[in-house]
Symmetry: D2
Amino acid sequence: MIAQETERFILVRMAIKIAGVKNIKLPITVVQKDGNHQDTVATINLLVRLPAVLQPDCIATFTAVLNRHIERISVEDFPGLLADVCASFSAESARIDMRFPYYLEKTAPVSGTRSLMEYQCIFSGGVGADDGFLLTVKVPVTTLCPCSREISEVGAHNQRAEVTLSARFKKMIWAEDLIALVEQCASCELFALLKRPDEKYVTETAFRNPMFVEDVVRKVAQLTLENPLVTWFSVGVESYESIHKHSAYAYVDSGDISVKNGHVTGMGG
Amino acid sequence: MIAQETERFILVRMAIKIAGVKNIKLPITVVQKDGNHQDTVATINLLVRLPAVLQPDCIATFTAVLNRHIERISVEDFPGLLADVCASFSAESARIDMRFPYYLEKTAPVSGTRSLMEYQCIFSGGVGADDGFLLTVKVPVTTLCPCSREISEVGAHNQRAEVTLSARFKKMIWAEDLIALVEQCASCELFALLKRPDEKYVTETAFRNPMFVEDVVRKVAQLTLENPLVTWFSVGVESYESIHKHSAYAYVDSGDISVKNGHVTGMGG
Amino acid sequence: MIAQETERFILVRMAIKIAGVKNIKLPITVVQKDGNHQDTVATINLLVRLPAVLQPDCIATFTAVLNRHIERISVEDFPGLLADVCASFSAESARIDMRFPYYLEKTAPVSGTRSLMEYQCIFSGGVGADDGFLLTVKVPVTTLCPCSREISEVGAHNQRAEVTLSARFKKMIWAEDLIALVEQCASCELFALLKRPDEKYVTETAFRNPMFVEDVVRKVAQLTLENPLVTWFSVGVESYESIHKHSAYAYVDSGDISVKNGHVTGMGG
Amino acid sequence: MIAQETERFILVRMAIKIAGVKNIKLPITVVQKDGNHQDTVATINLLVRLPAVLQPDCIATFTAVLNRHIERISVEDFPGLLADVCASFSAESARIDMRFPYYLEKTAPVSGTRSLMEYQCIFSGGVGADDGFLLTVKVPVTTLCPCSREISEVGAHNQRAEVTLSARFKKMIWAEDLIALVEQCASCELFALLKRPDEKYVTETAFRNPMFVEDVVRKVAQLTLENPLVTWFSVGVESYESIHKHSAYAYVDSGDISVKNGHVTGMGG
């Protein structure tokens, strides 16, 4: 058994760079744009980049840090949590991913009926070498196929799609802002609750606004480019095709786009 | 430590009724209706109802049995596998669930282009107290909303849906037969590969054939009732609504339906 | 197009028995045993058994009902929600499944460190033909293999397992009670947060308390049988074997067990 | 409706960079290292980077290309598939991800019993700007906690873990080679089928070879570094802790490691 012990001893001296915990699930309280607080449930990953080995009590340490912050999570407060993690671990850098369902009240377009709509938010952030905060929202929308509408005498196939928009920014942006941006960019936005006149509106709006996944990506990219606070972004759209069993997908990130004199030239055909 | 040992000894004498293994994954060869063989990958659960305790080598025993059968799996051959399991375990009864993707070649409706379409099949069977073979197919289809079509000036929302049909029968039925039955019962069937004239056909067919999930369930139930070989069935339809984030769902099983003189009366409004 | 319309008309007259919505996700507030309230996030299915067809605005109706109740969900309050659903739908019967993560504070066995542990709870209930409330808890535990311990000179393989206990009862039972019952029945219970002396305790406790999945099922069954409030129960245990890629599984429900004069005889070997 | 049309026209001119299809599922035949062929089922994503817009028939085109290749997939043949995709799309570059379960026969360590073990393989490859082939294997193993063993009088907690090793290389490497490499690096490897003497061997081997996730990562990294054909790699290990509900995780990629004169110095503590 000595052999193995020695081997482990040697291995320990070659510090692994990234270690941590995955899939910690905890209730958290998120600060909304309107100042109210929302209680939800987060799945949390913590990865720290270490100068040396991870101490055995790392999970206890991390949980203690988390407990100091879970009652007030927001884009604004997240850097404080990260700094606290780094200090507690003497880590070179740390990265946290916190994914949670996020609910916003929406108003149906004609009847005005209110309902809660569920989105997914991810706060990803690092300090040190993994610097920078990344805010991601996942927004369900409808896409209606332009090709299908053009070639068919009646109707056009449409389906649920999901838009994933991630952004880095120099000044505070709210998840609410990114969600609102995305919901302008599809054939139609979704609602949790629709009465008949609303269903008519949604159906007709989608039909009059046919978009491929590429079109949705392009429109989201365009609107995000116009936001001077955003320093980097990516947008992906997956459409669960109603006439197939697979998905259509499109993606772009701001690194692929050149902007000259305010004109988007790099994206030009 | 004596206390625990004694406790375990007592507990062992109260035989647990059902024990087994879950999530064994193995390549299998399935016999098709056309006589050809199809190689696929199955997820297998085995549960045995035992008179006494499960022997320690149960997984080894089960795997040995499985290995004798995996090169030729079919509705016809499944009872042989079950009998072999029961004999090997001296079990009162045994139950196996074998779930696998199953591929059928389909021909696009206008262009005639061929492609492989994926379905899910489940062979569930028992011998002894858990007697009877249950064949389940999961078939993706399109549903187009009758309400949306009726109230809207143009278009109608539609989406991918999944039909789950399970059947018991007195004589051999093929998965191919159940799949073909289901594909007649939705707003339109799906294809892996469509050229433009096919997409026009699928779009228009769905528009002309609007169905709620209840309509699909009813039609599948009606056609299944007409098959004299079927002794019991259930059908569920889940529609991934394109204008909402939730699903619409409907279900019926043959126990809910009375048939008198060949007329379906129990389902009547 | 007349043909299809007529067909749909006929089909509509054969009322489907069960229809509803699946995967509605909403924040809810759950009443704890200690009287406090816990905010969490539920995934909700609603199925109603109808005398006739489902009205088009069913989701709007259901959501309105849900909104009247989501701020106070408990075993005690659930029947009120169900009655409200039935009345609103003029349904013969209704069934709701509400699944949510549920958090309880636990105290580490030696250090006394506190942490929140996540469980899954399911409230399933019906009124009318689907009468009866079913409370389900899913509790993660450790199992340590008796066979491995017996045959090995050192160590014994152990792994995470999940116990699913469902119970019907004549008088109020709390999820907290079922969870506490289950946590006594495995090789060792789990904790979200352990310091070194706790880890020593958990390791040694599991080693001194080896159990197959059948043993865990048997012990949970025995303790549940002793609760006079429980009228029916089932218990299943799935162990994610650390030496295999598949799971071991065992299951029993109270229908399989005969109890005579307070003695469990039906389970006898 | 003219407004929308015009908008779409303008948007179309800003070519999206990446588009494609996701979740195409097809049976494929994989060439094994021993020259035999293995039938399995793949989930395939295709993304192409385009100079202009995606043509409407892109899925038909891609499926036609796939069909020319699915009967013979291997590390060796994959570049041919990619080149065919690029040529067919006039794409600047293309990227395919093909994920499939892969089965290898293993021999139990003492009894010599043979069984099929399931792994996950991912072939990811690009031509053009997304140049390079990445081979990924996911290998289930056991980890036994060194800390738990050290502090406990008897036993040590252990659990299933998954190692994900991805590698780029200058000359042909087989999935079989990467899997064999990983299986030397944990507390013990897993088997689909073990008899009692094998279970004793596996239990004792794990106990005598305690490893944190960091230790496994380090050992995999060390062995991979010694392979002169590998030009880049990453290794991540997730351990499904048996005493917690969350996972432990560690990761390193070759970019984090400096090698000087054959000595791994960058990893030094």
